[in-house]
């Protein structure tokens, strides 16, 4: 696999915990240490990121689960949910609890002679010019040595500025701790020389992790291969999205798409909030942003309340016959404020 050259930790297992729940030490002697597969220590500080080749995404959602597992994210309502009816997508969006989300797009002509089912694992784009970072008033959002964008939960005051500033709708408040959360590109794992959990879990190498420069070369080669293959005339060309600097200075999580971005729910020309501002409007603009923000907060609050009510109703109807003792306390999220 070409991936291995860029990701020495590709085969590294999750670090074995030294003291399991029972309190008995694990005999590590028989388990090869992580260093047997990968040199210890961090990746060199250079731009790292994801190249997601949607043409080989099989929609298995292993990335969603691996992400939640590694990052300790809970399931909405302890896993109880309603069928969305929107293809196989039942988690529905990226938000504070879903840092990876697989989209399913069904496109079929009525006679089925022309049909396809597109899948795409969506994630924070780790923009080179990041709107969230630009608006964060507390400095909770930082750019790391790997050129990724990370929200520090202990500095975030939950003001929600970043939610509106993100052109991709990636960020949301995690109701468990009421701070803004999103993909960290597994910052903690990178420090250990491990690739992000989603990329490791991806069985088809749809999600590839590595130095951006190398990923771009790989993506370009794949694009050329796809372009050389026969394709229905009516179908738009495959393309790379965010692999160059045409918007936001480029995306450190970029995509190979098999259609126009809008088909995947991606904006065609994403922009920073500040790009909409005339130069030097200064305080007036800040005031306006403030007013807008208050409105946004109100909207947001209302949506959260609705969501909480909906969730409670679902819980009651879906759990009607279920023994309350069966609910998993550790995974049950905190009730919404």
């Amino acid at each position: 696999m070409a991936q291995q050259s860029a990701t020495p930790a590709a085969t590294t297992a999750a670090p074995p915990s030294a003291t399991p729940a029972g309190g008995t030490p694990v005999p590590l002697a028989s388990i090869p240490p992580a260093s047997a597969y990968a040199p210890p220590g961090a990746f060199p500080p250079e731009p790292l990121g994801f190249y997601t080749d949607t043409s080989v995404c099989i929609g298995c959602k292993a990335c969603e689960v691996a992400c939640k597992n590694w990052n300790g994210l809970s399931s909405r309502n302890g896993g109880v949910n309603t069928l969305s009816g929107d293809s196989y997508d039942n988690t529905r969006r990226l938000d504070g609890q879903h840092w990876r989300h697989v989209k399913f797009i069904e496109q079929f002509s009525e006679d089925r002679t022309n049909g396809r089912w597109l899948m795409m694992s969506d994630v924070c784009k780790h923009c080179v010019q990041a709107g969230c970072l630009e608006v964060c008033p507390t400095g909770a959002i930082m750019r790391t040595e790997y050129d990724t964008v990370v929200i520090q939960a202990d500095v975030c005051n939950g003001c929600r500025d970043c939610i509106g500033a993100c052109p991709f709708g990636v960020i949301d408040i995690n109701p468990v701790n009421n701070t803004a959360m999103k993909c960290t590109l597994c910052y903690d794992r990178l420090h250990r020389g491990m690739e992000p959990a989603c990329a490791q879990a991806c069985p088809t190498a749809s999600i590839q992790f590595g130095p951006i420069a190398e990923l771009k070369q790989r993506a370009q080669a794949r694009l050329e291969q796809l372009k050389s293959q026969p394709r229905p005339e009516s179908r738009p060309e495959p393309r790379l999205y965010g692999a160059d600097e045409s918007f936001l200075g480029g995306l450190n999580a970029f995509y190979l798409l098999d259609d126009e971005p809008e088909v995947y729910g991606l904006p065609n020309h994403p922009a920073l909030p500040s790009q909409h501002l005339p130069a030097n409007v200064g305080l007036a603009a800040v005031g306006a942003v403030g007013v807008g923000l208050l409105g946004l907060l109100g909207l947001r609050k209302r949506r959260m309340d609705e969501f909480a009510a909906e969730a409670r109703a679902e819980q009651i109807s879906d759990r009607g016959a279920t023994d309350p003792g069966m609910t998993l306390g550790s995974d049950e999220e905190a009730p919404h404020a």
Partner: protein, 907 residues
């Protein structure tokens, strides 16, 4: 049964070499996503990406990745594949390309002449010669509606093996068979170890052949005739697949096979779960032999077996009809009175199975240890013998009749997973005791107070006498052990933590149960107890194995593995290096011959199943270094061979068919390591052939074992060394796969109007198991059941896990917008799906991925239902298998869960 071993012929990693991949009877991307990575690697290959094809009723996540989708009606795969065979045999390329001629003439039984009394389904309107009524035995639940006497299916003037040998498929116990081999010289034999004269007495006269393939009784001519009416028009009428799509698939397979190209076929339970499942798989094997794809890199058949160790559970079997290593379980219905009788009945004198006496005696030594001696016939009389079909469905029927008193459900959840699940839950209520050992309190463990039968008042907790015991299970990371995954690859897993509380491994449970029962029976003089008392049962852990753990009485996995691998009798530290070391005189002890070699020396560092070295084998060919299989990553049975029958990857003269597809070849200069003589098979894998047998070696007339085969006979498990286009034995329902309709079908059998479904299938006409008649207007839709990536089987490992539960939180029925409009159903509205067995409610998932097909001029709808849901767990839903019918394939008693009929209405 056509190739010699009941397992995937190759490994998923080999798919990166494929030029075309046909996935059929499998939703590989959803149900085997990790193996599917290799399909994606083949698709990503630059240059020359592989062409991916998916033949399936639904447009699934697998189809989404495919270049060609062939929509077919569920259950019509033999018509589809038979159509490809006919297309190949009518193509110009197949006759013009010398490769196909050479491969098929040399490596298959195409030229062999068949008994002149053989009659094909073309002669007898849908049945083969030899069909008669079935005579039920003592057990009474075998379920056959007819039986073939397969005498006329044998080779002309000889026989290559008797029908019913379970080493091929299964029904060893249910159809009495003759002892010995017809045509073999009957001479008195001693019947004493090492049984050489016994084996010698079984050698049949050689088969007669017609290398021109022109004789009308040659396998090739019979095959051509058998499929001659499987035309593209017929295929389209039966399967509903548009003709042009079918032809695209057939041409892609043909054009991507040849000396420098290979095509692979991947299948899973979409093929097995039919009343003719093994025959579907046989059609694929037949096609792959015709296309010369067997034994070659990127070719073969990938049998996608269940997670995580379904392959392992048939190798070291939980099956009733076979003992370890695909030997037949001793049966009262065969001449199995003594070891000599057993060996006479079961041994194939030519080919590798001639070693059966070594495998069998070493097995008995592993069961009874020192108590097994030549004087007491290795303790054989103590060994349990089967009396009929004791597989899942007949056992549940026996339970419903009150003939079964107790049951262990370990890692199994029949209240959700069983066919006609309502019937099975009611059967559980007839037990005296039920032990459920699982991760969570499953539907089976809670049937007595929470099942639909309790809810609707059919049963009440007060009226159920069954005493239910629930034992919590340890998880994989909480025990040592092995998995054998889909490519026969045995992998050891370490223990990472003690299980919490009273949770214990299955091995702990079984071992301590056995110890306590031995104590209970100690001192018994009853003859029936002697086998149990004489059984070896010592897997006590060494102190250092449990020093770091809270649980000190966990049995030693390594000691179990040692017994499976084999050792010199009386010297457990002298492990066997492989099955070549086995003896039939009691001097070796080995539970499962096929696994021998996985643990050649004591110490975990020598356990090849635990090795994790990904470096591939390399070899030089014409000065160029090539890379091959990852031979140090785990251990694949047999003998660590990764692609089976790989002698066929070389031409008859021993050189590779092409550099692009070089895998195993004959090096005339390389010295043989044992004899030092020049000449050895070598290459990128472990050769699946006698290492020093030159391509020019001739078969020795009258010899036994591999000596009876020539240097160009790659299928060493077969008595004639050939890949079988015609299966003279091993199958109870015919030597050629034939299109039959599922027992519940909306369509007539267009090819054989007088024979709607298999004439020898198994069915149980009992109360509570009613079925729909063919083309029943009350049940007009084809129902197919399946799994989703997000859940596992009956959901015990997924519906209790919130991260997985939220991904697919509710049961749904996938239907087309056309059917939804007909029924006035909107997306996510509730629908009621009914069959003669029951009805369930699910939300409609209306999608164009479901496609109405035109079958025999009429529009036909499919209804798709996952079967993961039940009444326990974090997310719940109706039990899909309440709808399914208990009906069985005649070879392996698999049910028909992939194609039956239903009605659907708005709820």
């Amino acid at each position: 049964m056509r190739l010699g071993r009941g397992a995937a012929t190759t490994y998923p990693g080999s798919l990166v070499h494929s030029d075309a991949i046909l996935i059929e009877g499998s939703n590989m991307a959803e149900c085997h996503p990790v193996a599917f990575r290799w399909v994606m690697q083949a698709k990503l290959r630059q240059p020359n990406p592989a062409t991916i094809m998916h033949a399936d009723p639904r447009f699934t996540r697998t189809t989404a990745m495919a270049d060609i989708h062939a929509p077919i009606r569920a259950g019509t795969d033999i018509a589809f594949l038979g159509g490809i065979i006919n297309h190949v045999l009518n193509s110009k390329r197949w006759y013009d390309e010398p490769f196909f001629q050479e491969y098929v003439k040399t490596y298959t039984n195409a030229a062999t002449l068949i008994n002149p009394d053989f009659k094909d389904t073309e002669d007898l309107e849908g049945v083969f010669s030899g069909l008669g009524p079935y005579k039920e035995g003592k057990w009474g639940l075998n379920g056959f509606i007819g039986q073939y006497v397969s005498k006329t299916w044998q080779y002309a003037g000889t026989a290559v093996g008797e029908a019913g040998r379970s080493a091929a498929t299964a029904q060893s116990g249910e159809q009495g068979v003759q002892s010995g081999q017809p045509g073999a010289a009957q001479q008195p034999v001693s019947g004493k170890p090492p049984y050489d004269d016994l084996v010698k007495s079984l050698v049949p006269p050689p088969a007669t052949t017609d290398p021109t393939l022109q004789n009308p009784m040659s396998v090739f001519q019979l095959l051509k005739k058998h499929y001659s009416r499987y035309t593209p028009e017929m295929v389209a009428n039966i399967t509903g697949c548009p003709q042009d799509q079918f032809v695209r698939v057939a041409d892609t397979m043909l054009n991507n096979s040849g000396p420098d190209k290979t095509s692979a076929i991947c299948y899973a339970v979409g093929w097995t779960q039919h009343t003719y499942g093994p025959q579907m798989i046989g059609t694929a094997a037949l096609l792959q032999l015709l296309l010369g794809n067997m034994g070659r890199p990127g070719g073969g058949i990938v049998a996608l077996r269940g997670h995580a160790t379904i392959q392992g559970s048939t190798d070291v079997p939980t099956l009733y009809h076979s003992i370890h290593g695909y030997m037949a379980a001793p049966s009262i219905l065969k001449n199995h009175e003594t070891v000599a009788d057993y060996l006479k009945t079961e041994t194939l004198a030519t080919g590798y199975w001639a070693n059966t006496p070594k495998f069998f005696v070493s097995y008995l030594k592993s069961v009874y240890g020192d108590a097994a001696t030549a004087d007491n016939d290795w303790g054989y009389a103590w060994h349990p013998r089967i009396t009929g079909d004791h597989s899942h469905m007949p056992m549940m029927i026996a339970m419903a009749e009150g003939r079964v008193k107790g049951m262990f459900a370990v890692g199994q959840n029949p209240a959700v997973g069983g066919q006609n699940a309502g019937f099975q839950r009611k059967a559980l209520a007839n037990l005296d005791w039920l032990v459920v050992k699982d991760n969570f309190e499953t539907e089976t463990a809670s049937f007595w107070y929470r099942s639909p039968e309790i809810q609707n008042g059919e049963l009440s907790p007060e009226s159920i006498k069954t005493e239910v015991f629930f034992f919590p299970s340890a998880q994989v990371g909480e025990m040592e052990g092995t998995f054998t995954n889909t490519q026969r690859l045995i992998k050891f897993h370490h223990k990472a933590a003690d299980p919490p509380g009273d949770a214990r491994s299955d091995m702990w449970f079984t071992y301590h149960l056995g110890k306590r029962l031995k104590q209970l029976y100690a001192g018994s003089k009853e003859p029936r107890d002697q086998g149990f008392l004489n059984m070896t049962w010592d897997y006590e852990p060494d102190p250092e194995e449990v020093a770091n753990w809270r649980i000190k009485d966990e049995p030693s996995a390594l000691k179990v593995i040692r017994e499976i691998n084999g050792f010199v009798t009386g010297k457990p530290d002298q492990h066997l290096a492989g099955f070549a070391a086995l003896k039939a005189d009691g001097s070796t002890t080995c539970a499962s011959w096929i696994y021998s070699g996985m643990y050649p020396k004591p110490g975990i560092e020598n356990l090849r199943a635990a090795s994790r070295n990904p470096a591939p084998k390399t070899a030089k060919l014409n000065g160029k270094e090539l890379t091959g299989a990852e031979l140090s990553w785990g251990f694949a049975w047999p003998a660590n061979r990764r692609a089976l029958y790989n002698r066929a990857s070389a031409k008859p003269d021993g050189t590779p068919w092409s550099e692009a597809k070089a895998w195993v070849w004959w090096d005339p200069n390389m010295p043989d390591p044992t004899t030092g003589k020049p000449g050895q098979w070598t290459g990128l894998d472990v050769p699946d052939f006698a290492l020093a047998k030159a391509p020019s070696a001739k078969a020795k007339p009258g010899a036994t074992g591999l000596d009876a085969l020539s240097g160009t006979d790659p299928f060493i498990m077969k008595a004639d060394g050939k890949g079988w286009l015609f299966a003279a034995s091993g199958l109870v329902d015919g030597p050629f796969p034939t299109h039959y309709e599922p027992i519940e079908s909306p369509a007539p059998n267009l090819l054989y109007p007088k024979q709607q479904s298999s004439p020898v299938l198994k069915r149980w006409d009992i109360d509570g198991n009613p079925r729909a008649q063919p083309a029943d207007p009350q049940f007009p839709y084809v129902l197919t059941t399946y799994r989703l990536t997000e859940h596992h089987l009956s959901g015990v490992m997924s519906r209790w896990l919130p991260w997985l539960a939220e991904l697919q939180p509710e049961l749904f029925a996938e239907i087309s917008p056309e059917l939804a409009a007909e029924k006035g159903v909107g997306n996510t509205e509730y629908v009621r799906i009914s069959t003669p067995r029951g009805q369930i409610v699910a939300k409609a998932l209306v999608t164009r991925r479901m496609q109405p097909l035109t079958v025999n001029g009429k529009t036909l709808h499919h209804v798709g239902l996952p079967w993961h849901f039940g009444y326990q767990g974090v997310v719940t839903g109706d039990v899909t298998n309440n709808l399914a019918l208990m009906v069985g394939d005649p070879n392996v008693t698999i049910h028909e869960g992939k194609a039956f009929v239903c009605n659907l209405e708005k709820a």
